[in-house]
């Protein structure tokens, strides 16, 4: 028997990643919706609070972060729910690959489809808000480190709510409070840069958070899926 048939962490990761990525690639509607939502909500704020350039520059990083958070949150229910509904999640659990491998692969695919496009788009939105070039780069860097944490935390919450009543609102109640520290440090990094301070403290904390989340949360997601399939 070959090593691949026995199952391995990289094997499971690559399998789940390419599967979810291919599904998203063939139905691009969902990813486009997330990006459209992000751009739309970010464009509503200047209309709501007034287009004064100093005010926009001041609130820009925070608004873009909140929009990214909501956009990442909106795509969460799809992460495991469809696989749970049609039974493929159960089949994956029975596969030879260790669970943590394919769970990490699914989370990584989720980030590539939501977090990465938002990070890439954020400088454009930041220009609309009139942010300085250096602030813009810090904002994009913070989003690049922060959005994977959102995907990891969101994966745990979405796995916990599998089969629960009141899905969407319940998911909001679970996930959004857990997102708060990421929001504070992420927006704080750009604000520190904008006010002439070094953003390295906030970026380091975000990085530390990402390391801890990457180590701990996939295991928690596995436990949550096992609970759901019990």
């Amino acid at each position: 028997m070959s090593a691949a048939a026995l199952g391995s962490y990289p094997g499971g990761f690559a399998w789940a990643f390419s599967r979810d990525f291919r599904i998203a690639w063939r139905n691009p509607g969902e990813t486009v919706l997330v990006i459209a939502f992000f751009v739309l909500v970010a464009s509503l704020f200047p209309l709501g609070v007034g287009a004064e350039s100093r005010l926009l520059e001041r609130i820009g990083p925070g608004v873009i972060w909140v929009c990214a958070l909501l956009a990442a949150f909106l795509s969460l229910p799809q992460m495991f729910a469809t696989d749970y509904a049609d039974g493929s999640l159960e089949q994956m659990t029975l596969s030879a690959h260790p669970m943590i491998g394919w769970v990490s692969g699914k989370i990584a695919a989720h980030w590539i489809m939501t977090g990465l496009p938002l990070t890439v788009l954020s400088p454009l939105l930041a220009l609309q808000y009139g942010l300085q070039a250096d602030t813009l780069l810090v904002l994009a860097a913070a989003l690049a480190i922060g959005t994977p944490i959102l995907s990891l935390l969101g994966a745990a919450c979405s796995a916990l709510t599998l089969g629960a009543r009141g899905g969407g609102m319940l998911l909001a109640l679970l996930a959004l409070p857990l997102f708060v520290p990421v929001l504070i440090f992420g927006a704080g990094a750009a604000e520190a840069q904008a006010s002439g301070l070094s953003p390295s403290a906030q970026l380091s904390l975000l990085g530390a958070g990402l390391i801890v989340a990457t180590m701990a949360l996939p295991a928690a997601v596995c436990v949550a899926i096992r609970i759901a399939l019990d």
Binding site: A156, C157, L160, T161, G163, A164, R165, G166, L170, L173, L174, L176, P177, L178, V180, P181, I184, L217, A220, V223, A224, I227, A228, D230
Partner: protein, 238 residues
């Protein structure tokens, strides 16, 4: 006697029924003593005047809000790793009291903040993380009731409690890590900067809140046990 004798809901039901009134009585006694020390013995604060007396509610409630979450997470961890029923029921029984303590801490803090800081609310690190704690309690309660199978709710909510545990050190150390509006703690293991009568009152109130939390959790766990075990013979024979 076997230590696990009381880990069966049927035996614990009787033990909890016997213990709860004692804890209520202790809470009442300690509360009366704490109020007496707090309002009659403790001197007026030199800077804040009489308004500082909110501390005798505010600080015990804030301590309890964090401590109860920790206890809830420990019960959750035990119930997940040993697959016990009673542990999950205890965690469920603690959550509403913990949420109430968090709310009381935030509410009294707002009333204390208005005359002393000039504002009901500030987006300071400690208040924000305490608010997040309140939402964690709400999320725990909502998730544990979101499933038709109560055991499923137990397990999912237990895992959520363990994930949310990360917030506790953030609340506790927030005033040390960030230099914000909320002051640091005046009480440390190595000594205190408070008047003895104030400290006595605060500790009495803390123990009173603690005993009250135990009593309410025991009372609540009794009804949870009855609800879950309603089809068993021992409940029908009650």
């Amino acid at each position: 006697m076997n230590l696990f004798y009381f880990s069966s809901p049927a035996t614990f039901y009787r033990l909890a029924g016997w213990m709860a009134p004692w804890f209520f009585a202790l809470a009442l006694l300690l509360g009366i003593a704490g109020m007496y020390y707090g309002f009659a013995v403790a001197p007026t604060d030199a800077v804040q005047g009489e308004v500082y007396r909110v501390i005798f509610i505010h600080v015990p409630a804030a301590w309890m809000s964090m401590f109860l979450y920790f206890v809830m997470a420990v019960y959750s961890g035990v119930s997940l790793s040993f697959n016990t029923r009673l542990g999950a029921m205890m965690a469920r029984a603690i959550a509403p009291t913990g949420a109430m303590m968090t709310f009381v801490a935030l509410w009294t803090g707002a009333f204390w903040g208005r005359p002393t800081w000039g504002t009901y609310w500030a987006w300071d690190a400690r208040m924000t993380s305490e608010l997040v704690l309140l939402f964690l309690y709400f999320g725990y309660i909502a998730l544990s009731n979101a499933f038709d199978d109560p055991r499923r709710g137990d397990r999912a909510a237990a895992l959520l409690a363990l994930i949310g545990l990360v917030n506790l050190p953030i609340i506790y150390f927030s005033v040390h890590w960030w230099n914000t509006l909320h002051q640091g703690s005046s009480v440390k293991l190595t000594g205190t900067t408070m008047h003895v009568a104030m400290l006595t009152a605060m500790l009495l109130m803390t123990f009173s809140f603690w005993m009250y939390s135990i009593a309410t959790a025991l009372t609540r766990v009794r009804s949870i046990i009855l609800e879950r075990e309603r089809r068993t013979r021992w409940v029908r024979e009650l």
